[in-house]
Symmetry: C2
């Protein structure tokens, strides 16, 4: 017998509302920035209750398809689909699976190596310009001393993500954002104060950006991996350890 029986479909009106609105967004009828009608209007359009509409909007919001605002001119606005949901759902998966820090670092090292190589192949002058601007910010803060470790950390992350964006593949960007969020959340970073590690780290980044600028893909990959490994060795040993 070759007949397949299908699981009965769930009988939930709000899912139908989700599907309709999602389809309108994905097939281009609704574009980023477009405002959906207010809840009370949607309830009439779908001939359902306001509560059901609200539930559907919650799901669409969690899918990253809309933003919801309160107040005048409020309501649901269509969002440009971006990598945020991948990063969030990967984060949940990583947290639920108790992925070890070493495993995360291994993944990071591999991916940053690839991304740096691609960035070296694809960088345009305006990309390099942006990277240099971030580096210049970091240099200014470094000159003021390591009291600015919090901002310097932010810039470090911004640099890594910017390099991933130069590589031009959103999937790499999404996974690296996940990695960085997990790493940032995993440590108390105050020990960076009074430590040479950030100086050291930005020196590495400087070399990496030069390699990218010079189109040296293999060199950039190596430098990126070296940088990641070194930084995480510091994390393990503590920032105060001097050679």
């Amino acid at each position: 017998m070759d007949v397949k029986f299908r699981k009965p479909k769930p009988n939930r009106i709000f899912q139908h509302v989700v599907a309709e609105i999602q389809a309108a967004i994905l097939d281009g009828r609704l574009k980023p920035g477009d405002q959906l009608p207010p809840e009370m209007k949607l309830k009439d359009m779908f001939d359902t209750s306001r509560g059901t509409i609200r539930e559907a909007l919650r799901v669409l919001e969690q899918k990253g398809l809309i933003d919801i605002r309160t107040g005048v001119s409020g309501g649901a606005v269509v969002r440009k689909v971006d990598t945020r949901q991948i990063t969030e759902s990967l984060n949940l998966l990583i947290q639920a699976q108790n992925v070890s820090f070493d495993q995360l670092v291994e993944f990071r090292e591999a991916v940053e190596g690839i991304v740096a190589g691609l960035a070296a192949e694809r960088a345009k002058p305006e990309n390099i310009q942006h990277l240099r601007e971030l580096m210049a910010s970091a240099d200014r803060l470094l000159k003021e001393g390591s009291g600015h470790w919090r901002e310097l950390l932010d810039i470090d992350v911004k640099l890594h993500i910017a390099i991933a964006e130069v590589a031009g593949n959103p999937v790499f960007v999404a996974v690296l954002k996940m990695v960085h969020e997990n790493i940032l959340d995993s440590f108390e970073w105050f020990e960076l104060e009074n430590s040479h590690v950030l100086q050291d780290s930005f020196q590495d980044m400087g070399q990496l950006i030069r390699a990218i600028e010079n189109g040296q893909a293999t060199e950039a990959g190596s430098l990126a991996r070296y940088h990641v490994r070194k930084f995480h060795d510091y994390l393990k040993r503590g920032f105060r350890n001097e050679q």
Copy 2:
């Protein structure tokens, strides 16, 4: 002035309910299979309205953290977090055309290359045994002709995931599942019938497994990348094209 002002926090009770339940799941207080209290109980526990609880449950469901059932013994049950949400998130990006198929393949190629290299470094005899068993299944089906393309596709994916599991890093496993599930969903595969492509593909896999078994990390990485690229070239040109 060194004072930083923070963006006001959204004032939504349901998000607080989401956060509390999510935290209980992620820190292990709630385990897969555990039943949450009924809505009416949760409303008392959180001292909020039933509607607000429902909205929170919608969000948790969309995050893949719970399943909700109707009827006696119904209610929200904690789910084992799996790759379903990351797959869906990536799928939305693809449908919104913010990730191209080429970008997905580029990501896949890079990651499969890394994973194959790690697997070659880490394979144990029982791992190789498992890979060989999957290959033996494929060989049997190949001998029966290409009418079994559906099962053969499944085995191909299983092989790739098994190699990732030999590499032993759950992050790589997760992202590869995400990729494979989207690739599987992106095509009508029936053209594989009457095509040599699967035979060809499993021949590549055989070589890859040998390289892994022999601990040849660089070779395994190259073979994996070559295999991915070749397969996707077939996808682009159509499976019937003969050289």
